[in-house]
Amino acid sequence: MEMNQVLTFAMEIGEWMLMSGAGVARVEDTIHRICKAYGARETNVFSITSSIVTTVQDKDGTMITQTKRIRRYQTDFQKLDKLNTLSRYMCKQLPEAEEVRERIRTIKEGETCSSRKQIAVSALIAGAFTIFFGGGAAEGMIAFLTGGLVIFFGNFMKRLMTNTMFINFVSSFFVASAAWLAAKSGFALDYGTVIIGNIMLLVPGVAFVNSLRDMIGGDMMSGILRVCESVLLAVFLAGGSFAALVFWGGVF
């Protein structure tokens, strides 16, 4: 295979890994290994969470550079697993272009979590975390219902607009309103646990820990970017639920 073609495939694999939730270090390593296996003399990969830049020098000394810009993320463990297998296979067997293209296409078109399943699972998560944080059976049930609704609502909003911050603000406003009304009407004793159970669905806790992990591992740039992103997202979530409580007159 030509180096240009190899780099295109490697970048595509890297892009999809980053979108599916792989760490930056992992993506850099994968691209590096693939290019090296196909005979690159030198590979320089730089990646942050929203972009990948790679420059490769092939056997004749020609330099090739490609860039990817990543705008959306959808954590998908199944894709991650398959991409990992593919990159290992490429490094060992050095398959031809046709085969690699076909395999990448199959992975990209692989099934995703259906919207109905997403709603059911989110309801389960919200209920579980409400009980985890000390809520009773009634709070768990309320959280179960709102958890499903909020994801349904969020998916609907995502189709209309793309700003994550705003969607999260509105979602947490919705959650806090539902929890407050449930508490006011006497179904649930404590609206705090219902809110926190639902917030666990939206809050970027894992991203926060992963960004610190990036920083400890030496990827300062992507670590700092993600810390800022998750803190800002938490501000919007808190703002949404606070606004709801003020609006309904719970606190001021």
Binding site: R26, L80, I199, G205, A238
Partner: protein, 152 residues
């Protein structure tokens, strides 16, 4: 005791749920749920021994990492999958949310308390993961090294 059992069950459900949301299937999905339960079990065990929040979270994250590395080897999948599922009960998502909530409410004392807690827990979890995974790599490299030596 009762709350501990409830928490273990709900941590399993939470991790299981997130893994299902992230499109995992079958046997791998159940092991991802188990990852969350194990890390919370270790958390509870250390909680009964020490008051130090940093240490408790660090050891729980280390346990999750070891489990993830082992499962990655057994089921031939990247360790990240089990690691992310395993640390879900530990991540300070709730604390991060409360911190910002108190910032908006301008309650600076509670903001400081929760902010400190969030940073400590997140650092402990990240540090635990890095330590355990580095140690695992080190052991692997050493085994390769000595195997090569005995052959050559």
């Amino acid at each position: 005791m009762e709350t501990a059992v409830l928490q273990l069950i709900s941590s399993f459900t939470g991790s299981f749920g997130f893994a299902a949301l992230y499109n995992l299937h079958g046997k791998k999905l159940w092991s991802a749920g188990l990852a969350g339960m194990i890390s919370w079990l270790v958390y509870l065990i250390f909680q009964s021994m020490t008051e130090n929040n940093f240490l408790i979270n660090m050891f729980a994250a280390m346990a999750a990492t070891i489990y993830a590395e082992l499962m990655a080897r057994i089921l031939k999948t990247p360790a990240t999958i089990y690691l992310i599922s395993g640390i879900i009960p530990l991540v300070p998502g709730g604390d991060l949310y409360y911190t910002m909530n108190y910032a908006i409410a301008k309650d600076w004392h509670l903001f400081y308390l929760y902010g400190q807690k969030t940073v400590i827990i997140a650092t402990a979890a990240a540090g635990g993961i890095m330590m355990a995974s580095s140690f695992y790599r080190l052991c692997q490299e050493m085994r390769h090294y000595f195997n090569k030596k005995s052959i050559g």
